[in-house]
Amino acid sequence: MQLYLPIADIPVNVFLVLAMGAAVGFVSGMFGIGGGFLMTPLLIFVGIAPAVAVASVASHIAASSFSGAISYWRRRSIDPILAAVLLSGGTVGTALGVWTFTQLRALGQLDLLIAMSYVILLTTVGGLMFWEGLRALLRARRGGVASPRRPGSHGWIHGLPLKMRFKRSKIYLSVIPVVVIGLIIGFIGAVMGIGGGFILVPLMIYVLRVPTSTVVGTSMVLTLVTMVFATMLHAVTNHLVDAVLALILMVGGVTGAQFGARAGQKIRGEHLRLLLGLLVLAVGIRFAIELVIQPADLFTIRETGGSG
């Protein structure tokens, strides 16, 4: 069934977009990530202008993460205090990121910079997660301790002042690294046009030592707030949010996210990390290949401005 999108100005197959939304929603519900780094390339692939795709995906991620966050909240898997502290850093980071984005665009070669950061960030984060997940899995198989939280290994992070008790996560931690991580995620998210969940989740696990039970739900809250903010920003500045496209993606996305969240609860933590590591690594490698291999077409066209 074809449907004409009023802002993107092209007809699309409703069922195809619905299925894409559901598939990405499933992944995002399972790992507690926004899935923007998967959805945006998919939309561009079906012929939607990159700017419209980025803007509309933000609202799709907002819907997916809200529905996910509600079900995590019901299972008491969200740490509201931790989320609030992360957000305080996240908002400042987002504002800084938007400012940097504008500066970079003025310099040119922004596309290349974004592609390079995708490659570096995705392959590094994905590779590390995959490696860590694999090691945890092997340890568990040998009958050792599978938890990444090694007893007694309190690093320098835990020596920082301004300690605070995060009851639901059962951790006692300084607020400084939490705010800094929120700041970094907000900044990266705004510059690269992604929610940043796939970086936030490992950072929370390995740096903050947040237990797996609350990490996914809490990161979803951060994604939700960032993406609602991003939707507003895109709608006000660029007028490129396609509400019809967003609605189709949302309906598919929230459905997928529900099943994904359920599946995520059933899978063991180290398996989950291994899978997410693989996924992130795969996308990173795909971007790397695109840069290295000779493209099928050396030329591209972009409209720079209408007139009459």
Partner: protein, 261 residues
């Protein structure tokens, strides 16, 4: 197609008044089947039909029998950039680019026989017959100019637009139903831009331009599509607020629907 003919003939009658050309040997009368293409939710492209006829009068040379016709349809104009990737330090990056100024976003060139058979290369160039001869202005440094058809940026530009069905050329699309009555289809793919489309019809005989006429049609959004597009443009804040609220509602609804108790 048969159902369209009465309608087209009615439009033809109307077209007679519009196509009043100065006293020449021939007059060209033409009209498209639909002057206003409306974009509705199930719009996925359309094909228009252009009908017309060549009217002879007393001044027409008696021995003139074979006419050639070239139809040029050009969509709303826009500035576009063509970029070329090159390998630098092992990765492919955009190195060179050309800006095309106010070029048609849609361009179709139809004729009844190959352009080479219609007119000499000189006339083809002057009358912009065929995609190779159409003027596509580039910004070259501080100057504005069109380049040779073999220019790699120009060739790539035309090729990429053609792959999307937005630039097309057919030397058999125009058919003469009688020696003076002609028709051609104008295919519009789903991704054609919204706006005003100019149709220019040129009549050739013995390799020279005899007369020309113009008509136009527009592609417009109506109803829901138009409402969304204008709201997004004119009241961005409200639009964003509604979209964000819609996202939250969808997420909330889903968590209720899928609640497992």
């Amino acid at each position: 197609m048969m159902a369209r003919i009465p309608l087209t003939l009615a439009a033809l009658a109307l077209g007679v008044a519009l196509a009043a050309s100065p006293a020449r040997a021939e007059r060209l009368i033409a009209s498209v089947s639909n002057h206003r293409v409306t974009v509705t939710p199930n719009y996925s492209g359309e094909e228009l039909v252009l009908f017309g006829s060549v009217e002879k009068d007393a001044q027409t040379p008696a021995n003139r029998a074979n006419y050639d016709l070239v139809v040029t349809v050009s969509g709303p104009r826009a500035d576009m950039v063509t970029r070329r990737k090159e390998r630098r330090f092992g990765i492919w990056i955009n190195t060179d680019s050309r800006q095309f100024l106010k070029v048609p976003s849609y361009l179709a060139l139809f004729s009844n026989r190959p352009f080479d058979a219609i007119a000499s290369p000189e006339v083809q160039r002057r009358q912009q017959l065929g995609l190779n001869n159409v003027l596509l202005t580039q910004r070259v440094g501080p100057d504005y100019a069109d380049v040779v058809p073999a220019d790699p940026f120009r060739r790539a530009f035309v090729r990429l637009r053609s792959e999307h069905g937005l630039y097309r050329e057919s030397t058999s699309a125009v058919t003469f139903l009688t020696p003076t009555l002609f028709r051609t289809g104008i295919p519009l793919p789903g991704e054609v831009p919204i706006g005003t489309y100019d149709v220019e019809i040129k009549l050739f005989a013995d390799g020279a331009l005899v007369t020309r006429t113009e008509t136009a049609f527009e592609i417009v959004k109506v109803g829901f599509e138009q409402f969304i597009a204008t709201t997004a443009r004119q009241s961005g804040f409200t639009y964003g607020l509604v979209t964000a609220f819609m996202a939250l509602m969808t997420g909330w609804m889903a968590s209720i629907v899928f609640r497992k108790d």
